[in-house]
Symmetry: C2
């Protein structure tokens, strides 16, 4: 069963109670009755699927484990409040490994004011496994959802796209660690959740839909389109590409546009807004929401498809 | 690093903000400002450590995965509100397996009014892995904590102890599935969270400390004692043992008292209360809180020790 078929089955089996927002966005939304909404997201990271133990330092893995969850709160325009960490650890883990992991986890959590309030520790036979649940909050009905894009909206992203994917590719290819390669790898190992940007965008008149980019624009933008019932045109010549990404792609013969659209793990914000909105954060316009469905890629004759987990039969 | 040393390190690294209750109880407690407290707990289940795929039907595993988390809300005297389910699934999973799992999960969730509001699905290389986060609520400052036992309190449990452990032992020993064995196995595979009992106890004048029994009284009672700064006397002749447990232990030569104290996975409530409290739920008094520390086991010359996950070096 593919991931999205399974999720569709779960949505069918488990209807969301009135007043709450459940499956289908970066976070669930639970009204709290005091003028605030509670935001909740949770993510499981499994060794060999989501990370390679030898491919990332434990400090960085701890950082990233917290950061990608804080990014889900940022994606709704919320303020992180607390996280919960579950770990299943293997017996062959070196002394100090978990301590380094926790220090990385703490560094990014403190930066964004999220307390660690609980969790669970146990052992695992062969694969390290971590789960983070993050709680955030926002004023009632102010969370920015995926279903609010409208034809005519501009499609925008914060930051650069593709750096993280290039960093990962450089690790897998065993490239020497030049300063340029190092900068791209840091973008992969220590993503910086766009919490402040998300808060600013949630307060912007004319904001439409928003999500964070975890699987690449080519895989993530369709979620906004499906939830909003719209299509999109993306100008592949307008993608925000860093100098480092361009330089490494030139040197290695890699396709920067493909990395930017399909690579994933950028943890930048992808949002739409009315054309006359005054956008309060650094961003790049990469396309436009149009009636219909699907994505038309301008400036390229290629079709870009994202990554999907596959399992079952 | 042993589990409790790791948890101690986490508590040291991550102080809990004023007003919140973090690590050290069945749930974290976050005041919501509307006369309600939010309760949060999360648990990771890993194949080969917490369950054997061939040892439990997928419906039962789904039931149990939700039930043990709902039990954490029961343990605080709270009302379950919502759960979040993360799954990492292996490619060799038969068609329909996950659907049965979800049906079991749904059956117990609906019984206790908990909506499934989100989660995450991905693949895993070799071990199935599930994580549940559960949210509950209770009136402000009414959550029953582990740190509120007082010398002179009675120590009580709901239901029977040891049935679940005997059910598991019968599976591992390959015993034939007689009706008696079947009843004990059901106690292992479909634990029934004591949500109503927990709510009643939370409203009882004279309630002291409370938790649910996941690792066995011998391993769990020390948490109450440590958090409360007290000791206990437990009368091992007064444990609530079911007729089924007694019969199977007699037939197989198993030690019923050991299963009741050390077996775990009962998911009954362990609570303390003033001696004159009018306890509104079926229960058994098994001992008394005393000054000092540690547990004195009356009626036995044995020392009972619970199970602890070990990992790292």
């Amino acid at each position: 069963m593919q991931e999205f078929r399974l999720i569709a089955k779960i949505r069918e089996l488990f209807p969301t109670p009135a007043g709450m927002t459940g499956i289908g966005d970066d976070c669930a939304i639970l009204p709290q009755g005091d003028g605030q909404d509670l935001l909740v997201s949770t993510d499981l990271l499994v060794e060999g699927v989501h990370f390679l133990r030898d491919g990332i330092a434990p400090f960085d893995l701890g950082w990233k484990t917290a950061a990608v969850n804080l990014s889900d709160i940022a994606a709704m325009g919320g303020q992180p409040v607390a996280t919960f960490l579950c770990s299943a650890l293997c017996g062959d883990l070196p002394a100090g490994w978990m301590l380094s992991f926790l220090e990385g986890y703490k560094a990014v959590s403190e930066r964004f004011g999220a307390a660690l309030l609980g969790g669970d520790t146990s052992r695992s036979l062969s694969q390290l496994c971590f789960n983070v649940t993050v709680l955030g909050r926002c004023p009632s009905n102010r969370a920015v959802r995926r279903n609010a894009a409208w034809p005519g909206d501009r499609i925008c992203v914060t930051g650069f796209l593709g750096d993280s994917a290039a960093g990962l590719k450089s690790i897998l290819a065993g490239l020497a660690e030049t300063p340029l390669v190092q900068r791209l790898r840091t973008r992969h190992t220590r993503p910086f959740p766009r919490v402040e940007e998300g808060l600013s965008l949630a307060g912007m008149p004319g904001i439409g839909a928003m999500m964070d980019i975890s699987d690449g624009v080519a895989a993530d933008l369709p979620h906004i389109l499906e939830e909003s019932g719209t299509g999109a045109v993306v100008d592949t010549t307008s993608l925000p590409l860093s100098d480092e990404l361009r330089a490494l792609c030139t040197a290695e013969g890699w396709d920067a546009v493909e990395l930017a659209l399909c690579g994933g793990e950028d943890y930048e914000l992808l949002f739409t807004c009315r054309p006359d909105a005054r956008i309060p954060v650094p961003h790049q316009v990469i396309g436009e929401i149009v009636p219909g469905n699907g994505i038309r890629w301008e400036g390229s004759d290629r079709d870009f498809a994202g990554f999907e987990h596959k399992f079952g039969k």
